[in-house]
């Protein structure tokens, strides 16, 4: 049996502790240990961005982050964006623009968008495209996602 590691970190403002084998990814910890299934897995290989979360202020592919790296980190997932009732304005912008189709890429897209907008409240088209270039979407052709992020930024 592989030895388990105890990892303490913060998720959406709450402090949590999990006990997992060291090769467990953050995506698995979130989904399996913590039941935060809004974070999706599409490739488990750092290629699709479905698993994007914000770690210490930066958007990361949580399938590539292993348990030991999570210790002490501050993690934000889709469940921590917007409140129980209210949506984060970027989520509202996704709705308004019709940026959601099958919705499987959506949580990851929203997380990349939130990370971008917190760092750069007024991104240009190229910056928006670049920020979500690691998030694959097979449904939308990205048009409305880009529009949603840009309109939100412009409207603030």
């Amino acid at each position: 049996m592989t030895k388990e590691w105890q990892v303490r970190f913060r998720v959406n403002g709450n402090s949590v502790m999990v006990s997992v084998p060291p090769m467990t990814s953050l995506a698995e910890i979130l989904r399996q240990q913590l039941g935060l299934t809004g974070t999706k897995i599409g490739c488990n290989n750092g290629e699709c961005g479905a698993c994007t979360v914000i770690m210490n202020g930066k958007a990361v592919a949580s399938c590539l982050v292993l348990a030991p790296q999570v210790a002490g980190a501050d993690i934000r997932t889709i469940e921590g964006v917007g409140g129980d009732k209210a949506l984060h304005p970027i989520q509202q912008a996704f709705l308004d623009e019709g940026a959601v189709q099958c919705g499987y890429c959506t949580p990851g897209m929203v997380m990349s968008a939130v990370a971008l907008l917190e760092e750069n409240p007024n991104p240009g088209e190229a910056e928006v495209k670049d920020a979500i270039s690691g998030n694959l979407c097979r449904c939308t052709g990205y048009q409305k996602i880009i529009r949603a992020i840009r309109h939100y930024a412009a409207g603030r």
């Binding site: 989904r31 399996q32 039941g35 299934t37 809004g38 974070t39 999706k40 897995i41 599409g42 490739c43 488990n44 290989n45 290629e47 699709c48 479905a50 997932t77 889709i78 469940e79 917007g82 949506l87 989520q91 996704f94 709705l95 308004d96 019709g98 959601v100 189709q101 099958c102 919705g103 499987y104 890429c105 959506t106 949580p107 929203v110 928006v128 495209k129 670049d130 979500i132 270039s133 690691g134 998030n135 694959l136 979407c137 097979r138 449904c139 939308t140 052709g141 990205y142 048009q143 409305k144 996602i145 880009i146």
Partner: protein, 777 residues
């Protein structure tokens, strides 16, 4: 023009909120106490006889609870329509790398994998066929099922269209193009991989959550292969994370496997694929090789087309009889000819397997015909857009199939729309004379028609139900799935419009075989037309009862009723709230749940004669791509894209534009990078690091528009949209590349080496990554 409250107006998708919050539950998100994880042992050989299959050692592996093989199903789990050549798990033989042989259920995914490794499976390798040109050689090894009609077992079908004698006309033409074109297989690349969850029920049946095209088909296969009665199997469609035709036959196997394991273990069983397993095991868009001959006279009148092609269905037939047929119907493009022959033959090989994929055979044939048409225009010295305008199908024309188009033909308007939007004339002229030695621009155009719904592929019928509950909420059911296109929203819009109520009142259930009635598969972009009409009729039936109640309440005749918002008005013009009318209907004993069924207009196709009325209506469209090619690297950048589509009346604009954008992006990948490369039967790209699909930086701004020609049989005049936007993208881009570089790329994709060198570099392949992935978590 009628003024609608919802139809054609902006509205949010009904399921967008939970998706944007991350609370929508996809199959892989389900977790139940005591749930087991399932994993398949999959073939590492492209063609082999199963000599020995002993699962007992797997049962000794700690954590393994049960193992199944084809013996655990009735008739070895044979299924498939129209050709029953698939099995829930391989029986006697395997025919492609990745085919499921046995399935293990265990306490953890790791134990399930260990279980698959412990199975004693002895395979005797058989000679295989990887080149479709040799599938029908007399001595070719048998891949397809044995047949009694004396035909080659690797022959899957012949799909002709015959209209006169093109040979005789071609010799008479002033200009003729005779060229070969080729497409390769394409991966659906839905971001959610395949998955199913089965839960044993108290009565000894199963409840399954399946990410798939049709819960009814999944249930049918489960019932038949496991010997369950109709009521003992229930299938629900959770949200589907993209499908594009892909979550059909393969995921029905997954569903059958977990259902079988759930019955055996009496515990919930879930299977979710890794990306690698998904890519290796799943079926693809088939590959096609075409020889296209088209001829015209000097004045630019198209005269004849002879289209001959071979289509590779891989190891199983799956949907290929239907895709091939659809491909044959559209292979000559949306044009008038004096004579036309289409001659398409579909064969079995050991290259994975081909099945349903957005466009259903049409992206393949358009890659041929729409380049050939361009080449012919060039040879005649005619502008390719003018050439299409001159020859395209118009109202009153008779197609090469013998069908006269009597309504809703907006093709020439689509061509005119993209010509204007793209500033075609100026750019086409400017790009004809460029001096930059490194970067060249080009602009290209295509035209399309695409039969809506199933056509003569099958019986076309859908049903829907609608009900007003005690608390006055209205719920709908439809048997058609929504895996992204937004058809559930369309149904809510139609119901709200017909009933004259606020859309917020309307809810729609997830497709569930216990709640909805069978509506056939959600394929072929049939949901708006079929499901929309069924919903419209169900809602009309309900409104009729409410109208009786309102007239009774207001002391007038039904025809005197008026509406103000939701309220009813009679001659006295005193508004009565909708709820009061509903309450009155209840008191009158009128039923408040109704049903609607809609059957498509009759059509017929004579498979031998290659003539008939293949579809009751067609979607039309025109697209233009503007590219810049780097002559040093062969890299193509799509700068602008224009798409105009005649989808009839557009009911849900937000969804319809989404289909254009998504379809163009998927077609852009097909045009430029996507290549499912089987090297001796082993897939070379098994994740997104090597199988490239377009990202946000690859897709240009897409200028989409609609030409709305009313279609009398569609709900509110609608036709369909989901598939066609993808269909002509590859040849549109290839035509633009041809203008930019002066050289044709006749084999997809137009990757760097083909654009730069005009040929494919020989690549070395390896079976290693497939083999490793099939053994990894």
């Amino acid at each position: 023009m009628t003024d609608y409250r919802y139809i054609g107006k902006p509205i949010d998708r009904v399921d967008a909120l939970e998706k944007v919050r991350g609370t929508a539950r996809f199959v892989g998100d389900y977790h139940l106490p005591g749930m087991l994880y399932a994993r398949c042992l999959r073939s590492e050989l492209p063609h082999a006889r199963i000599v020995k299959l002993d699962v007992t050692p797997a049962l000794q592996v700690p954590g393994v609870v049960a193992v199944i093989t084809s013996d655990d199903f009735i008739d070895h789990g044979r299924f498939g329509f129209p050709i029953s050549d698939l099995f829930m798990l391989a029986y006697e033989k395997v025919r492609y790398v990745g085919e499921g042989i046995a399935c293990v259920a265990a306490e953890t995914p790791e134990a399930a994998l260990a279980g698959t490794k412990a199975i004693l499976c002895e395979l005797e390798e058989l000679p295989a066929i990887f080149d479709m040109e040799h599938a029908l050689d007399p001595n070719a090894p048998q891949i397809g099922p044995a047949r009694e009609d004396g035909k080659h077992p690797n022959f899957l079908g012949h799909f002709p269209v015959y209209d006169g004698d093109p040979e005789a006309v071609l010799v008479d033409c002033d200009a003729v193009i005779d060229q070969n074109y080729e497409t390769v297989m394409q991966e659906h690349a839905y971001i959610e991989t395949e998955g199913s969850l089965a839960i044993p029920t108290v009565e000894g049946g199963v409840l399954a959550y399946v990410s798939c095209q049709s819960p009814f088909i999944a249930r049918g296969h489960i019932m038949r292969t496991l010997g369950l009665g109709e009521t003992a199997a229930r299938v629900i469609n959770p949200p589907v994370g993209g499908s594009f035709g892909g979550k059909d036959d393969l995921n029905y196997m997954t569903a059958g496997q977990v259902a079988c394991l759930a019955l055996k273990t009496k515990r919930p069983v879930r299977m979710t694929f890794s990306r690698e397993e998904s890519m290796i095991a799943s079926y693809k868009r088939g590959a096609m090789r075409m020889r296209v001959r088209v001829g015209a006279d000097k004045a630019g009148k198209l005269r004849a087309c002879h289209f001959k092609a071979t289509y590779d269905s891989g190891a199983y037939s799956s949907q290929s009889p239907f895709t091939s047929w659809r491909a044959s119907i559209h292979a000559m493009g949306p044009y008038r000819y004096d004579a036309c022959t289409v001659d398409l033959t579909t064969v079995y090989t050991n290259n994975g397997f081909a099945g349903a994929f957005r466009g259903f055979g049409n992206p393949e044939v358009y890659a041929g015909i729409e380049q050939a048409i361009d080449e012919l225009a060039e040879k005649l010295g005619i502008d390719p857009l003018d050439f299409r305008l001159q020859n395209c199908l118009r109202l009153g024309d008779t197609t090469p199939h013998g069908q006269t188009l009597t309504e809703s033909v907006g093709l020439s308007d689509c061509l005119l729309a993209v010509r204007k939007a793209s500033d075609w004339e100026r750019k086409r002229a400017a790009y004809a004379h460029q001096s930059d030695p490194d970067r060249r621009r080009g602009i290209g155009v295509t035209a399309l028609f695409h039969g809506t719904s199933l056509g003569a592929e099958g019986t076309d019928e859908a049903t829907g139900t609608i009900e007003i509950h005690q608390d006055n909420r209205v719920t709908l059911t439809s048997g058609l799935t929504d895996y992204g296109p937004g058809s559930r929203t369309v149904y809510c819009m139609i119901a709200a419009e017909m009933l004259g109520v606020d859309i917020q009142r309307i809810n729609i259930h997830l497709p569930d075989t216990n709640l909805a009635k069978d509506s056939g598969p959600t394929v072929a972009s049939r949901s708006t037309m079929l499901g929309g009409n069924a919903t419209r009729i169900a809602a009309l039936n309900l409104r009729q009862n409410l109208d009786y109640a309102a007239a009774d309440l207001l002391g007038c005749e039904v025809f005197q009723l008026q509406r103000a918002g939701e309220s009813y008005l009679g001659p006295s013009e005193e508004p009565v709230p909708w709820e009061v009318v509903v309450e009155h209907a209840r008191r009158m004993g009128l039923v408040l749940s109704t049903f609607g069924r809609w059957s498509a207009p009759k059509i017929h196709w004579d498979e031998e004669a290659g003539r008939g009325v293949p579809y009751f209506a067609y979607h039309f469209g025109a697209q233009i791509a503007e590219v810049e090619v780097d002559l040093r690297t062969g890299l193509t950048d799509v700068l602008n894209y224009y798409a105009a589509h005649d989808a009839g009346k557009v009911i849900f604009p937000q969804g319809a534009y989404g289909q254009i954008y998504g379809g163009v992006a998927q077609g852009l990948g097909y045009a430029l990078y996507e290549d499912v490369d089987y090297m001796d039967g082993y897939l070379q790209s098994i994740n997104f690091d090597t199988y490239l699909i377009p990202t946000s930086v690859d897709v240009p701004e897409i200028n989409g528009s609609f030409v709305e020609t009313h279609y009398s049989q569609g709900p509110f005049g609608a036709k369909n949209i989901a598939e066609p936007a993808m269909v002509p993208v590859a040849p549109t881009i290839l035509n633009a590349i041809a203008q930019a570089t002066g050289r044709r790329v006749r084999k997809l994709p137009a990757n760097l080496e083909r654009v730069l060198l005009g040929e494919t570099l020989h690549k070395k392949g390896s079976p290693v990554s497939c083999k490793v992935a099939l053994k990894s978590v």
